[in-house]
């Protein structure tokens, strides 16, 4: 049986750990709030841009754009959004497992695909597997603004236009609720299925529909990625919150158990002491 002092030490250290995890849980909870607000602020922009793209695409048949045309696929890009740090439960491992499985299913050799990473965990994972990482963005702030990820989205869309790859799939954790996040796969490029969200109207184009698509489509694709990053961030904070909550719960369970055995050991020691005193007194008589 462990000594009294050993148990006491373990109780103290577990208590300290639980204090930290509880604090982290609360930090994540407040970050989740902000992340949800950010995601909400982005919705009107996305809805509007989708509307306009859809109405242009539906309105004119002659307006086509390289980004809307499906090319024969020689190379596929996987854009994987993970977090920069751990302590987020299954957040990263779920995504990375899904992506690895998909890659194994679809590709025979490592030359058929490239990886684009947002988040350190994903980059490290794919680098270890020896896969080609074309670009990565790490150490994003907790509440990224569009300017923070403009660089990586611009590159991702630009390299598609230059023909570095012929399709882009994006993987991220979709935020369903604070306790549920879903790994989601989205095809970003080429833009094939753009659905109008509301009633579309017919527009005049200045100077032409083609010129507008030129500006609009890259912006649309970049917005898709930005939306996924915001969604992913909200999921990350939610996952971290849940993970820290269960860590705190486990710690208090552990403390309860340890306190019980501490009291038992203390009582045993007292009993033993009394027995010794009584025994000693009896021997003197």
């Amino acid at each position: 049986m462990a000594s009294l002092r050993d148990i006491k030490n373990r109780i103290t250290s577990t208590k300290k750990t639980s204090q930290i995890t509880r604090a982290m849980q609360m930090v994540s909870a407040s970050k989740l709030n902000r992340a949800e607000m950010n995601a909400k602020a982005f919705v009107p922009y996305m809805a509007k841009i989708q509307d306009v793209v859809a109405s242009i695409a539906a309105g004119s048949n002659d307006a086509s754009h390289p980004m809307m045309i499906t090319r024969p696929v020689k190379k596929t890009a996987y854009l994987v959004i993970t977090s920069d740090r751990g302590l987020v439960g299954g957040y990263n491992s779920n995504i990375l497992r899904t992506v690895s499985n998909k890659i194994r299913e679809r590709h025979a050799s490592k030359d058929e695909f490239v990886i684009l990473c947002i988040g350190r965990k994903g980059r490290d994972f794919f680098a270890k597997q020896g896969m080609t990482i074309l670009d990565s963005a790490i150490a994003l702030p907790d509440h990224p603004s569009f300017a923070d990820i403009k660089e990586v989205t611009r590159k991702a869309v630009g390299m598609f236009s230059e023909g570095a790859y012929d399709e882009v799939y994006m993987y991220y954790n979709h935020f369903v609720s604070a306790i549920q996040q879903e790994v989601t796969e989205t095809k970003v490029l080429p833009l094939t299925d753009i659905k109008p969200t509301g009633a579309t109207s017919t527009y005049e184009f200045d100077p032409s529909a083609g010129a507008i698509l030129e500006v609009l489509l890259p912006q649309y694709a970049e917005s898709l990625i930005f939306g996924a990053v915001l969604d992913g961030k909200a999921s990350e904070h939610a996952a971290s919150m849940t993970a820290m909550k269960s860590a705190t719960d486990n710690a208090s369970e552990l403390i309860d158990g340890l306190t019980l055995s501490y009291n038992r050991a203390r009582q045993a020691a007292i009993t033993q002491e009394i027995t010794e005193i009584v025994g000693g007194a009896a021997a003197l008589e």
Binding site: N38, F42, P44, V52, S145, F146, P207, I212, Q219
Partner: protein, 134 residues
């Protein structure tokens, strides 16, 4: 007086939402003034100031990269970044203007040159809007 609703939206959230009597924006093909009852139009925006006329006052918003969607009773501006004159961090704009200028003078390769030029344009636009001299 007839008015038209103006919405300026960026990926980081809405920036402006109000009724005005006239909108003047810099589009790819030149300056464009929009009055209430305009025919539905879509036009790409350059880097520049959007002027929003209201009664006797004019408000300025610095925008870059985006487009303008016009309906008879509503104008929506979708921009990658948009700031009202009062929200502009002018010290930062001056700094990035300086940085872009020194990059331009260094004259490295083609791509950097173009990007520095755009950065300078954006910074100058912000400074102009902040100072109100359009």
């Amino acid at each position: 007086m007839k008015t038209i609703t103006v919405n300026i939206v960026t990926p980081d959230g809405p920036v402006y939402d109000s009724d005005v009597s006239m909108v003047i924006a810099v589009t790819a093909s030149g300056e464009m003034g929009v009055l209430p009852g305009h025919i539905p139009t879509v036009a790409p925006l350059g880097i520049g100031a959007v002027r929003l006329k209201k009664d006797n006052s004019t408000e300025l918003v610095a925008v870059s990269g985006g487009f303008l969607e016009i309906r008879p009773e509503k104008v929506t501006i979708l921009a990658q970044s948009a700031e009202r004159a009062t929200d502009i961090d002018v010290a930062r704009a001056r700094e990035s203007a300086k940085r872009a200028e020194s990059l331009l003078q260094a004259k490295k390769d083609e791509v950097d040159f173009k990007r520095a030029e755009l950065a300078l344009k954006r910074a100058m636009n912000r400074i102009n809007v902040y100072e109100g001299n359009i």
